[in-house]
Amino acid sequence: MKFAIAVFSAAHAPSSRRALLFAQAALAGGHEIVRLFFYQDGVYNASGSVVTPQDELDVPKQWRAFISEQKLDGVVCIAAALRRGVLNGEEAKRYQRDAVAVGAPWELSGLGQLHDAVQDADRLICFGGA
């Protein structure tokens, strides 16, 4: 089955950890992930600035490794990310900000990428919505 996965909760939220475990299990079960889309507070999952206590699961680090190793499409909504200060190098330069929080394998893009994934996937699975 082709899954699109949307994450709306911050990196430290239990639902973000569940999203990560679901994504890993989906691939392990032979399914396909057409795209991971991070929206609202979900953009914090892509932040390289998150510091997780040593005895807790480092969710942003795990996402980064998982997306890189599996060569997945990890898209962060650009408008949601700008609002929350999760900028890549290009946006930091554009808005003259010092802090760059996100880089490869993440891509900053628009909501069209969410709609595109919804159309492409058999199922959309959401984590951390209201």
Binding site: A6, F8, Y39, Q40, A79, A80, R83, G110, L111, G112, L114, H115, V118, Q119, R123, L124, C126, G129, A130
Partner: protein
């Protein structure tokens, strides 16, 4: 055929960016000509209360964006009757006249009609 998507908006307009961000998904879908629906549920119905004063909160009003929905080709607009009644809102005097007021059993059928659902 394009897959249909229902957005269920459950956040009050001034509780954070949630309501605006839910609406942004709807507007983006409309811009791509996708079959998209929007249901206001629970505190989300407060987005349709009239006489809101965004300026008092130094914020931007959502209502202009809401009124633009039909222009973006989004005509499937729904409001939960129970949610408005529980919050003392008159469902016949909401800011989005195009929205159909639905009872609980009709909402079950509505959700069933859509291919995909996002609740925000």
């Amino acid at each position: 055929m394009a897959k249909s998507l229902l957005i269920i908006s459950r956040q009050a307009p001034w509780s954070g960016p949630g309501a605006r961000e839910a609406l942004d998904i709807v507007l983006a879908g409309g811009a791509f000509d996708l079959p998209i629906g929007l249901l206001f549920l629970d505190d989300g119905v407060f987005q349709l209360a009239t006489q809101q004063d965004a300026k008092a909160l130094q914020q931007k009003d959502l209502s202009a964006n809401l009124q633009a929905l039909p222009m973006f080709g989004v005509e499937q607009l729904f409001v939960c009757a129970d949610s408005t009644a529980q919050r003392g809102l008159d469902s016949s005097a909401l800011s989005l006249e195009e929205a159909q007021v639905l009872a609980a059993n009709e909402i079950t059928a509505l959700i069933d009609r859509y291919d995909q659902v996002i609740t925000l």
